[in-house]
């Protein structure tokens, strides 16, 4: 039998029996996944409801440096701490997500080494704890010197958290030189007037 003759063994498809012609399952050989390439470090805005990851593995007590002019946060390692002692703050980094599904890392203020705190910090900590279980929005009330905290009511679904580890998330949040681990770091040099 040549190539150009009917191969009798080939079954002829029947268009009047479409069940056999239906594609089931995933017919596409390729797909895509959304990559997390940026993770802002910031506090929640007054216009967003947010949640905080409840898992203790997704929080990190640490020291950060905030360059307010540039609205940039730097993570400071113990090695670099002596040269920045006056400029840094003790915080607890918490993983957050707003109602639009956007992730961010919130540096929640912590009491200083002497245990002193203030009403702003206390209300922010309270908000972060409440946001572990509820959708929370916080607004600064200057007259009262703290944050007003709102809890969303109604049946709002829980957020879907990324599968990455906190270590991986930290690397994304503080990539591109946002980790200060020595006095040679350009930001340290800049603060020292170099």
């Amino acid at each position: 039998m040549s190539d150009d003759t009917n191969e009798k063994n080939t079954p002829a498809p029947n268009p009047f029996n479409p069940d056999s012609l239906r594609i089931t399952g995933d017919v596409n050989a390729v797909g895509a996944e959304k990559l997390l390439v940026r993770l802002p470090v910031r506090k929640p805005t007054k216009q967003e409801f947010f949640r905080v990851h409840v898992d203790t593995e997704y929080r990190l007590p640490c020291v950060i440096l905030e360059i307010k002019m540039e609205r940039e946060f730097y993570l400071v390692t113990p090695e670099a701490l002596p040269v920045l002692a006056e400029d840094v703050r003790r915080v607890e980094l918490r993983l957050c997500q707003n109602r639009q599904g956007a992730l961010f890392m919130w540096p929640v203020p912590m009491p200083g080494p002497d245990g002193r705190t203030n009403s702003w910090h206390e209300s922010a900590q309270k908000a972060s704890n409440l946001a572990e279980k509820s959708w929370i929005r916080m607004i600064a009330v200057m007259a009262e010197g703290d944050y007003a905290i709102y809890r969303a009511t109604g049946n709002i679904p829980d957020p879907q958290w990324p599968e990455k580890t906190f270590q991986e998330l930290l690397q994304i949040a503080f990539k591109d030189g946002k980790l200060i681990d020595s006095e040679d770091h350009p930001v340290v040099q800049q603060l020292n007037g170099a």
């Binding site: 040549s2 190539d3 150009d4 003759t5 009917n6 191969e7 009798k8 080939t10 079954p11 002829a12 498809p13 029947n14 268009p15 009047f16 479409p18 069940d19 056999s20 012609l21 239906r22 594609i23 089931t24 017919v27 596409n28 050989a29 390729v30 797909g31 895509a32 109602r99 639009q100 599904g101 109604g154 049946n155 709002i156 679904p157 879907q160």
Partner: protein, 603 residues
């Protein structure tokens, strides 16, 4: 007269032998017709590719034969380009239609859907696309004109037309390898593709049946409308514009329209230049959002006299035109707006009227896009919403906008807002379009859309993955294989890709229903987006409606698997006429004007 046949066995040498059919017939008809009437076959040429046998039949020979001059059973493959035209000739001749149809037009569309086709989708375009030799356009036009002249033709003309027809058959033979390379049976996948191609061919036969049937139209009334249109136009403007004051000497004035919008507080979309957008789409959407705009929209849409005259209605009072299957990217039919009774202004559909002793029924799939989205994505919450019978109200309840005991009546406004979002997603609309469509603030539409994302996460993950697949160079396919390609030659955006599975599988559903219905002997007048128009003698109307309903439900299950689509039916019995919800007011206006003019003529 003995039919002209010749035999010149050919070894195609291109693997066509792998087609699991004893015979492969390439066939082409030449025919002429008056707009709206049935085709009048002039000649037919058919060539069997294995044996090389050629059959050439002139019109008198065609009419003498009560059956096709070749095998049309399941062992023979019938190949044509835009097969509905060929099958239309079969039906006009009373011939038995082929059972296995490979339409090279549908397969060329499938091969290139979503891509730029430089030479068009006709036979010449397909040949040029693949770099195959083709007859010159001028020569083809000349021969087509000769055919369309309707005769009489002398012996030379006859030979020339038959040769021209045979030229198209030879072109089909050249085209098959290029188009069929993916469906030649060599493995399970290509066998599946061949089966899916035959399914499309099966639909082209159903299209021929529907085009043959046509939509019953009140022809005497249409003639009166055409004769009186100038007078009606002026009266209409006067009558409608009394509430608007936007016309001046019969001309629509933008400044006056803008003043009316300001007065009514209606926000209207603008062009980048700042002027008001007054295109048909904008008017249609705004008329839905703001009912006060509807009569003006209907008036503007109705004022094109050309459209009234372009409507293709045959001498037997049937609206027949090309249904243009597979013309849209989603595979839906795309008949000419001007020629199709369901295309022009909605009020004109009042011309649809069953013949004495008959009734018609408009059966459509309820919330088809939502059902498909729910079923194919497997989103249980969306499935619950659809099966509740009111997906809009259920969405409102799911997101907490309405209490569990809320009903369509108790929470009408909330339901309408949710409806705009749920439907908008099915049509691939963004928040802005949804807002315009439903008369919502854009911010509110965005919030509702966000809630839709949050409530139907499984659906959105599935939908966004579809877009990614396409943009990553993959091919999106319906459950029966209608594809859309993206790539460097594509002009697709992510919204149309997101929308594709719902619309294209909806098209599959309707095609399946149309096939089963026409094959069951039901008289289907036309497909209309997600609906079929049925005609039946009055004494059998209810029975046929029930039959068609069951076939449409079955078709929905064939596409969606576990879920069935709801089917709604509107029946019209002679002497009543079809009345479209959106065009009823305009129809009444026109009818009020029409008799007045007739009386004057009589005087």
């Amino acid at each position: 007269m003995t039919p002209s046949t010749s035999s010149n066995a050919t070894n195609t040498g291109d693997g066509l032998g792998r087609f699991p059919y004893h015979q492969i017939w390439c066939c082409d008809f030449e025919f002429h017709h008056v707009d709206g009437d049935l085709p009048v076959p002039v000649c037919m040429v058919a060539k069997e590719l294995r044996s090389g046998r050629v059959i050439r039949l002139w019109q008198d020979e065609l009419r003498q034969s009560g059956f096709p001059p070749f095998d049309t059973g399941p062992e023979a493959l019938f190949v044509a380009y835009y097969t509905s035209a060929e099958i239309g000739c079969f039906l006009a001749l009373g011939w038995r239609v082929p059972e296995r149809v490979l339409d090279l037009f549908t397969e060329f569309r499938a091969e290139t859907n979503g891509l730029w086709v430089p030479y068009g989708n006709g036979l010449l375009g397909a040949l040029n696309y693949f770099g195959l030799s083709a007859m010159g356009t001028e020569e083809k036009t000349e021969m087509r004109d000769l055919v369309l002249s309707g005769g009489p033709w002398d012996a030379n003309d006859r030979e020339a037309i038959l040769d021209y027809c045979q030229g198209d058959v030879e072109a089909l033979q050249r085209l098959i390898p290029s188009i069929a390379c993916k469906i030649l049976p060599k493995d399970d996948r290509s066998l599946l593709r061949l089966g899916q191609a035959l399914l499309r061919g099966r639909y082209m036969v159903a299209v021929a049946h529907m085009e043959h049937c046509g939509v019953p139209v009140d022809l005497p009334l249409l003639d009166r409308l055409r004769e009186s249109w100038g007078h009606i136009r002026n009266e209409l403007i006067m009558a409608v514009d009394a509430d608007y004051g936007v016309y001046e000497s019969g001309t629509f004035k933008m400044a006056r329209f803008e003043a009316w919008l300001v007065d009514k507080g209606i926000p209207w979309p603008r062009l980048p230049s700042g002027t008001l957008a007054t295109d048909e789409d904008t008017f249609r959407q705004m008329a839905r959002a703001y009912p006060a705009v509807a009569p003006l929209h209907e008036l503007r849409h109705s004022l094109g006299k050309l459209k009234l005259n372009s409507l293709h209605v045959g001498a037997d009072g049937r609206n027949r035109c090309l249904l243009s299957p597979f013309r849209s990217k989603t595979g839906r039919n795309q008949p000419s707006n001007a020629k199709f009774i369901f295309g022009p202004s909605r009020w004109l559909r009042g011309l649809i009227k069953p013949a004495p002793g008959y009734g018609i029924a408009y059966l459509d799939f309820g919330s088809q896009e939502i059902a498909i989205a729910a079923a194919l994505s497997g989103d249980e919450d969306m499935i619950d919403a659809y099966t509740s019978g009111d997906p809009y109200m259920t969405f409102a309840k799911q997101v907490g906008l309405a209490p569990p005991e809320a009903t369509k009546e108790s929470h009408k406004d909330v339901r309408n807002r949710c409806k705009a979002i749920v439907l908008g997603v099915g049509y691939g609309m963004g928040a802005e379009s949804m807002a315009y469509r439903a008369g919502l603030q854009v911010a509110e539409a965005r919030e509702l859309l966000r809630q839709h994302h949050e409530t139907y996460r499984v659906f959105w993950k599935w939908a966004e993955n579809n877009v990614n697949v396409a943009l990553a160079g993959g091919v999106l396919r319906t459950v029966y294989g209608w594809p859309i390609h993206s790539g460097s030659r594509s002009s697709l955006n992510d919204r149309s890709l997101l929308n594709f599975p719902m619309q294209a599988n909806g098209a599959e559903m309707l095609r399946m229903a149309a096939c089963m219905a026409t094959e069951a002997g039901l008289r289907i007048c036309a497909p209309i987006h997600d609906a079929l128009l049925l005609e039946a003698p009055l004494e059998r109307l209810d029975e046929d409606v029930f039959h068609l309903k069951s076939l449409m439900v079955k078709a929905s299950e064939m596409v969606m698997g576990t879920l069935a689509c709801r089917v709604d039916a509107d029946l019209v019995r002679y002497p009543d006429r079809y009345r479209d919800e959106g065009g009823g007011e305009m129809w009444d206006r026109v009818m009020k004007i029409l008799p007045a003019r007739t009386v004057r003529v009589v005087e």
